[in-house]
Amino acid sequence: MPSDDLKKFCSQVRRDIIRMVHGAKSGHPGGSLGCVEFMAVLFKEVMHHIPAPFDMDGKNQDLFFLSNGHITPVYYSVLARCGYFPIEELKTFRKINSRLQGHPATHEGLPGVRVATGSLGQGLSVAIGAALAKKLNGDTRLVFTLQGDGEMQEGQIWEALMFAAGKKVDNLIMTVDYNGRQIDGDVKDVMPLGDLHAKLEAFGWDVLENKNGNDLESVRKYLNEAKSRTGKGKPVAIIMHTEMGMGVDFMMGTHHWHGVAPNDEQAQKALARLEETLGDY
């Protein structure tokens, strides 16, 4: 996809994020804004996926699991704008009788979502299972996951990391959204992850570190590099440095906007700086 088009896509996704959390008066804009470039490149360029008709099994398609399920605004916007479900449905986010639950769920049958996530630490295990099923089925497509950095504090993550390396699940690419922030503050203050890069390598993963996770070129380069490293006996990890709240100046540099919706004035202020490129829902 030409870079200009992808930039336009990202700008529209950011507008969707702000409008969704503002409309719902709740939700998680910070982490969503920080992962826009990653989700855009992954869904528009890197993955082979068929939005419609949606197939839960996803045979012969690349699969994505959002383990840090709270960043549904970016997930739903990208799914809708890739054709998984009508874009207008974004206005139902977090409202009664909606398929767009606060955290991703299969229960209401939303196309694109393959497991409920949001109780942190569980998505990587599910992704491993899906990757094992692909191997059993002779399906050479890949499985991608996104984890939060705060989420890496969950014990189940380390069980899964151990398994994926120990059992050579090499059709799996895990990206860690390394924005350094979680609900109660900076990750380093709440519960330091220490040297995550070294820890992942010590667990047997092939580890890449993308210092520019909000730069489209950089995201593309590292995802493609990660893809080229699959099938070689090791699961692949990308530690992706991002800025929580990216694209909305007053939401950056703080953990405050992890799970807070902007009021009318704040939403207007944010939207004034984000170009409407593909049409608001």
Partner: protein
């Protein structure tokens, strides 16, 4: 008279019925896969592991990860059977089951051995008596507790055909094997063991044989017992339960589980809504177990034949 109808063909453990059926499923259905958390021998999964190594996943002592991987394997059409002790199959991983399996409608079969007091000498740390309650509370979860080797075998085959998450609970000790492999096993359909008029006796798991023995003794004293094997706790066979109670007018439930959250609890709900009747529970009453032999424990915690007889006589007095 029951003992002539149901003769013990020799003691066998229910977990071996699971292991044998899992091997059979491996032969029948290439989509059946199995996962175990370092208890392959205890779960009798070794035959499957040996026959189908590429479809067996040893996950180590990491049950939370095992439940997540099982959920993921269903995406791609696999039918995963997880195996570990009942304690580690439920309480330890309740949230993983709730989010990744039950709420996500994943076709995972959670197979749990060493349930209840009959685990024996390992003590209360491993003797879960709350697992039925935990699992039956989850929307969409099917909960099955077969009574002997043959029924565990049939139940294991049946759950592979069922679309949706299942909790299958069985045990460690060798117990009388009295049902037949030619019996019909249908999920949610209770099995009538004997027709009686004075009291309804609804039992599950290891308490089924004990209920048969108790009913036999009661028959000799002139008390006629309507005995039902409720192998499926959820969905409960409401129709036959109500039919039976309308005829007898009183109820005893018998299970190797806490009174809170168990089979008796489910039956009491049905009765309260549709047909209130006097009821007695044979169950563990708000207590943890302890070390001991299975027989000693079942006696000490009130889950033995004399306890069933006592409960029947008591409930008849309340009519």
């Amino acid at each position: 008279m029951y003992l002539t109808k149901f003769s013990d063909s020799g003691k066998k453990d229910t977990r071996s019925g699971f292991g044998a059926a899992l091997l059979e499923l491996g032969k029948r259905n290439p989509n059946v896969v199995a996962l175990c958390a370092d208890l392959t021998g205890s779960l009798k999964m070794d035959a499957f592991q040996k026959a189908f190594p590429e479809r067996f996943f040893q996950v180590g002592i990491a049950e939370a990860n095992m439940m997540g991987i099982a959920a993921g394997l269903t995406i791609g059409g696999k039918i995963p059977f997880t195996g570990t002790f009942a304690n580690f199959s439920t309480g330890r991983v309740f949230d993983q089951i709730r989010q990744s399996i039950a709420y996500s409608h994943k076709n995972v079969k959670i197979c749990a051995s060493h349930a209840g007091l009959t685990l024996g000498e390992d003590g209360a740390t491993h003797q879960i008596l709350e697992d039925i309650g935990l699992m039956k509370m989850l929307p969409g979860m099917t909960v099955i507790n077969p009574c002997d080797y043959n029924q565990t075998y049939l139940a294991t085959l049946a759950i592979a055909e069922h679309q949706g998450p299942v909790y299958l609970r069985f045990g460690r000790p060798a117990v009388p094997n009295f049902t037949s492999l030619t019996d019909t096993f249908q999920i949610g359909k209770a099995i009538h063991l004997h027709k009686g008029n004075d009291v309804s006796l609804f039992c599950t798991g290891h308490l089924v044989w004990k209920s048969i023995v108790a009913a036999d003794a009661l028959e000799k004293e002139g008390i006629s017992v309507d005995v039902w094997n409720i192998h499926t706790i959820k969905p409960l066979d409401v129709e036959v339960i109500l039919q039976s109670v309308k005829q007898t007018g009183c109820v005893v439930s018998a299970e190797e589980h806490q009174k809170n959250g168990g089979l008796g609890d489910s039956i009491a709900q049905i009765l309260a809504e549709h047909y209130p009747a006097p009821m007695e529970y044979v169950a563990v009453n708000d207590a943890f177990g302890e070390s001991g032999t299975p027989d000693e424990l079942m006696a000490k915690y009130g889950l033995d034949v004399p306890d069933i007889i006592k409960a029947v006589k008591k409930v008849i007095q309340k009519k």
